[in-house]
Amino acid sequence: MSKVSVRFFARYAELAGCSSSAVNLETPATVADVISRVREVFPGTQAMPPRPLAALNQRHVKLDAIVNEGDEVALLPPFSGG
């Protein structure tokens, strides 16, 4: 099992009950796999949409992007900046 950092922002941090943590899973995995694991570990995040926006190591990615040990996956509510 590998450790992957996860970060939650804005409303998702409220759902998760924290803004950063980590999950353990087999890697290489996909961002979608990480999100599935997150939904198990942080039940509040089951209220996130089925396909939330995500960033891998601070870059926008699709949910099939490959995640390795030590990577950081951030789950991002729809943006409202500007």
Binding site: R7, F9, A10, R11, A55, Q58, R59, H60, A74, L76, P77, P78, F79, S80, G81, G82
Partner: protein, 135 residues
């Protein structure tokens, strides 16, 4: 660093982009609107990523309009209605490129920056803003 918790200074941005060879300068300001009794908005960000994403957006604008210079500042934290949350200044030899680059950058910001708003209403309630891009 493009993110700040202080009031935005248009003069500072203009000083960064203006030069004698750039004859057209365009400034876009986004300010907190008092819609639906909103008294203030708390802006939060994935700050390190937002800063890098702004760098990428400005680099792309530079590739597309090489003679233009564009800068951007986004304010975070609680901003009262009427004050600016974002300022973009674009200067170019002629106005077409200045307007185009400025417009391009604000549209990319809306699509790509990991920044979120929580509205505070006059009745004491708070609400995360869902997406509604009115342009």
């Amino acid at each position: 660093m493009h993110l700040t918790r202080h009031r935005l200074s248009i003069a500072d941005l203009l000083a960064e982009v203006q030069s004698p060879e750039r004859g057209g300068t365009c400034v876009f300001l986004g300010t907190v609107r008092n819609d639906a009794d909103v008294s203030a908005i708390d802006y939060s960000a994935y700050e390190s990523m937002a800063d890098e994403e702004i760098e990428r957006i400005l680099a792309e604008a530079h590739e597309r309009w090489p003679d233009a210079r564009v800068v951007l500042a986004h304010r975070l934290g609680v901003i009262p209605a009427g004050e600016a949350s974002i300022a973009i200044a674009a200067a170019a030899p002629h106005r077409d490129a200045a307007f185009a680059a400025c417009r391009h950058v604000i549209e990319e910001v809306k699509q790509r920056l990991p920044i979120w708003k929580k509205e505070f209403r006059g009745d004491g309630s708070e609400k995360w803003v869902e997406v509604h891009d009115h342009r």
